[in-house]
């Protein structure tokens, strides 16, 4: 167990009161509990408020494009199996711009810890609807309210039987840290969708709104029971379950690539004999 100070302390650009502050704290706790040294950790983000998270932790980081954190993380993971790759981005980044990569990542069950800061709104661009905004959600940009149905990330993830699907809440940072710790322990894809109130732009799904609705999944919920998990994954209304919703047993994607058994690709020299053998086939 490392000291959480390992990951440093940085000034953030987040609003006071933003759920991201607690999320960051929970992350540090979970990383420390999992003994993940900064050197072995790669944090990947897209663009958005959530995606600034890797800026605020001492670790390796690849802060890429809006919506494209998952492919970048996938590439890094498939190039160096020793890195623990953790992805932080928002609901817009993961489920909007990056929706296709989200689906593909689920299908692959690629070994990533995917943390979605789900504030049901576009924070950094100042308050447009996001894919998880509820129907009727009014913004400056959607003055008559959102007409599309919210995306159901957890249910879609369960459907594709990734390694772990969970929901956390920044209002319960210790519980969240526990979830993240479990997610970090998993091989394959672990999705943690975190209810993260945006105090500046989401005046509906506030801290209080979530608090009134969340409850903890208890021992009565078996996360390996697919039907139960699929049902819980869809629950988002008067009651919202927190906890590990689903645990799957598909192999992590990286396990299929023979070269990765030999460690990071950067350590693997070109095998001249093999190359000559390959060229021989063309004569």
């Amino acid at each position: 167990m490392l000291d959480i100070a390992t990951y440093g302390e940085f000034e953030t650009a987040w609003c006071p009161g933003c759920g991201n502050h607690n999320l960051l704290k929970a992350m540090k706790k979970a990383l420390a509990a999992r003994d993940l040294a900064p050197k072995d950790l790669l944090l990947v983000g897209g663009i958005g408020q959530a995606a600034k998270t890797p800026q605020y932790l001492k670790a390796n980081a690849f802060c890429g494009l809006h919506g494209r954190s998952l492919p970048a993380a996938t590439g890094a993971r498939l190039a160096n199996p020793r890195l623990k790759v953790v992805v932080n981005s928002g609901d817009g980044c993961h489920y909007g711009e990056g929706g296709n990569h989200f689906l593909a990542a689920l299908r692959r069950n690629i070994d990533l810890t995917v943390i979605v800061h789900d504030n049901q709104v576009y924070g950094l661009t100042k308050g447009q609807a996001s894919p998880t905004s509820l129907e009727g959600f009014v913004t400056k940009t959607q003055p008559e309210g959102v007409w599309a149905a919210p995306f159901q990330p957890l249910a879609v993830a369960v459907l594709h039987r990734v390694s772990l699907v969970a929901r956390g809440f920044t209002g319960e940072p210790d519980h969240l840290a526990g979830l993240l710790e479990q997610a970090l322990a998993v091989e394959g894809l672990a999705l943690v969708d975190v209810l993260q109130p945006c105090v500046s732009f989401n005046k509906i799904n506030t801290f209080k709104w979530y608090q009134e609705r969340v409850y903890h999944l208890d021992a009565g919920h078996d996360p390996t029971d697919f039907a139960a998990a699929l049902a819980k994954a869809q629950e988002f209304g008067q009651r919202i379950p927190l906890g590990v919703i689903w645990r799957g047993d598909r192999a992590p994607y990286s396990s299929h690539f023979p070269p990765l058994a030999a460690g990071p690709l950067y350590d693997q020299e070109v095998d001249r004999a093999a190359l000559e053998h390959v060229l021989e086939k063309y004569f």
Binding site: F62, A72, A76, A79, N80, P259, L265, L275
Partner: protein
């Protein structure tokens, strides 16, 4: 045009097996010691339609296709109709008895009789082999090898029987077709097309990661890497889309794997943002863009050189890049290897720009000198003071030390936002200025290493014929024709369209009485670029944009106009 060379054209519907015939014949010809240039013309469909596989063959080195047909292997009636007008004097057409073949030139063979109507391609191959004067053993071996991987012994035997029967039949009823002159000194050469060579070049230089989304005519690069991935320890991933492909490759490269993507114009259009990310994050990336005619879906299986300006400017904001454009199958190998190393050296995006014509053009290729290939080693492995490591430390030459995440205690932060030397987001004007200036300084390195255009012919020619990328051989052969007609002609081949170093070519352009640029596009993009960089206006352009490859004849006709 060179007398000893012969044009073989195999035509038929997609799915009839004309590629099988072509591939086996090409292999046999190369093994027999001939030089070849293959041109593949196929439709965007899987069955039916009309496709051709053309082999120009010659005992001497050749570098381009030619118009006209000497030996036509027609698998259907349409082929006979469509290519009738292209037959050279003395040409022969091989066709099944079922096909009406009015010409005297036509040699009807009863394919069915010879093979229960099943192994028609082997019959065609047997006839062609006999007419060309190829050794039966070689043809037999070629066919067996081609089918061997997929077919059971019984089928192989039947094919062989059909081939031998047809060969014997053609020998007996020799239809008055002069066989190929014997090759010079037979040497072991490879049969490779542009895409295969490109893939092998990258592999030889240490490619470790490839992400791609299928797109004609680029897919066979990825396919070649896949075919050897297990042997060479390469991670290959078919991405969900091109955006994923480029971002995966960047992630992998950041983590230390020399990485490539393969695509064509439409797929590349989706990667522009990723290219820009390579620029600001200073992540090495090789992008192999195999051009086809646009706009949009255009002619998906044909050829064009119309994406030069797009590739040069793709991505928002300003950052250095290099573009290499091979002119031959050999250059595909060498420039791919060079490009992978250049991406690492410049910590940014480097392009290989090819096109469908070269991608699918098989040639006889001399063995590569692997010892001469620079093998890429990603990153700096010994970071002096890892605690204080700065990924984007200022450097006059633009090259900050590139550590790899996890490889040492140095923590590496790469960033798409403007950043401090430590890789942390900044909005400070002075830091921005310094970082952008640093990044742009890498243009100097690229300029220093830019490959000079290759000139041949007199210094002060009457006519300087210029081309870039895949037209090299065609331009060379057109020039040879003109020289044979007594004109003073020189040629220049731009194998690296960017960056351009004026002193490498401007004197040659100025020294020519007339300068003509040959391009497979409608607007003369390379000529325009040269003017932008040097002010030199190339007064005359030979352009082709109907999706078909340039030929020496096309150039000569255009010049005669």
């Amino acid at each position: 045009m060179a007398k000893e060379a012969l044009n073989i054209l195999i035509g038929g519907e997609a799915g009839q097996g004309l590629v099988t015939i072509g591939q086996v014949l090409a292999k046999v010809l190369v093994r027999a010691g001939y030089f070849i240039v293959v041109t593949q013309d196929y439709m965007s469909r899987v069955r039916g339609g009309h496709n051709t596989y053309a082999i120009r063959v010659c005992p001497q080195p050749i570098h381009s296709p030619r118009e006209g047909v000497d030996l036509l292997i027609a698998l259907d009636q349409e082929t006979l109709e469509l290519h009738r007008g292209e037959l050279n004097p003395g040409a022969r057409a091989i066709a099944d008895t079922g096909l009406t073949c009015a010409e005297a030139a036509c040699y009807n063979v009863d394919f069915n009789a010879m093979t229960e109507g099943r192994y028609v391609n082997s019959v065609a191959l047997g006839v062609a082999g006999a007419l060309l004067g190829l050794d039966l053993e070689l043809v037999d071996a070629g066919l067996k090898e081609y089918l061997g991987k997929k077919k059971p012994q019984e089928i192989l035997d039947k094919n062989r029987a059909a081939l031998e029967a047809a060969y014997a039949h053609a020998r007996q009823n020799h239809p008055g077709f002069a066989p190929l002159p014997p090759p010079a000194a037979p040497r072991r050469r490879m049969l490779l097309n542009g895409n295969e060579a490109l893939a092998l070049g990258a592999l030889a230089a240490g490619l470790k990661f490839l992400a791609f989304y299928p797109m004609t005519p680029s897919t066979s690069i990825a396919q070649t890497v896949i075919n050897h991935a297990r042997d060479l320890g390469v991670v290959v991933e078919q991405a969900e889309d091109e955006i994923a492909a480029v971002n995966m490759a960047l992630g992998a490269s950041f983590a230390g794997a020399p990485a490539m993507i393969t695509t064509s114009g439409g797929g590349f259009a989706l990667m522009a943002e990723g290219v820009s990310l390579a620029g600001i994050s200073e992540t090495p990336l090789l992008l192999a863009v195999v051009q086809r005619p646009g706009p949009a879906t255009g002619l998906p299986t044909r050829t064009e050189q119309a994406d030069l300006e797009f590739v040069l400017h793709a991505g928002h904001g300003e950052f250095p890049r290099a573009i290499l454009a091979p002119g031959s199958v050999e250059e595909c190998f060498h420039l791919a290897a060079r490009a992978l190393a250049l991406a690492e050296a410049s910590q940014g995006p480097v392009f290989i720009l090819s096109d469908q014509y070269l991608a699918d053009s098989y040639r006889a290729v001399e063995p590569f000198d692997l010892a001469a290939v620079e093998v890429v080693r990603a990153g700096e492995r010994a970071i002096a003071d890892p605690e204080n490591y700065l990924r984007y430390a200022l450097a006059a030459d633009g090259l900050s030390p590139r550590a790899l995440p996890g490889q040492s205690a140095a923590l590496v932060k790469a960033d798409s936002d403007e950043h401090t030397p430590a890789g942390v987001i900044t909005e400070a004007a002075a830091v921005r200025l310094a970082q952008q200036t640093k990044r742009l300084a890498k243009y100097g390195l690229l300029l220093e290493r830019t490959l000079a255009p290759v000139f041949s012919g007199p210094e002060h020619p009457d006519l300087l014929l210029l081309g870039w990328g895949t037209s090299q051989g065609v331009v060379a052969e057109a020039a040879a024709e003109l020289r044979a007609r007594g004109r003073q002609v020189a040629t220049g081949h731009f194998r690296q369209p960017w960056p351009l170093k004026a002193e490498q070519f401007l004197p040659r352009l100025r020294a020519a009485r007339q300068v003509v640029m040959v391009e497979s596009n409608a607007t003369g993009q390379m000529a325009r670029l040269i003017r932008r960089e040097t002010g030199f206006e190339i007064p005359r352009l030979v352009l082709r944009y109907d999706g078909r490859p340039l030929t020496p004849e096309y150039i000569l006709r255009a010049l005669a106009d």
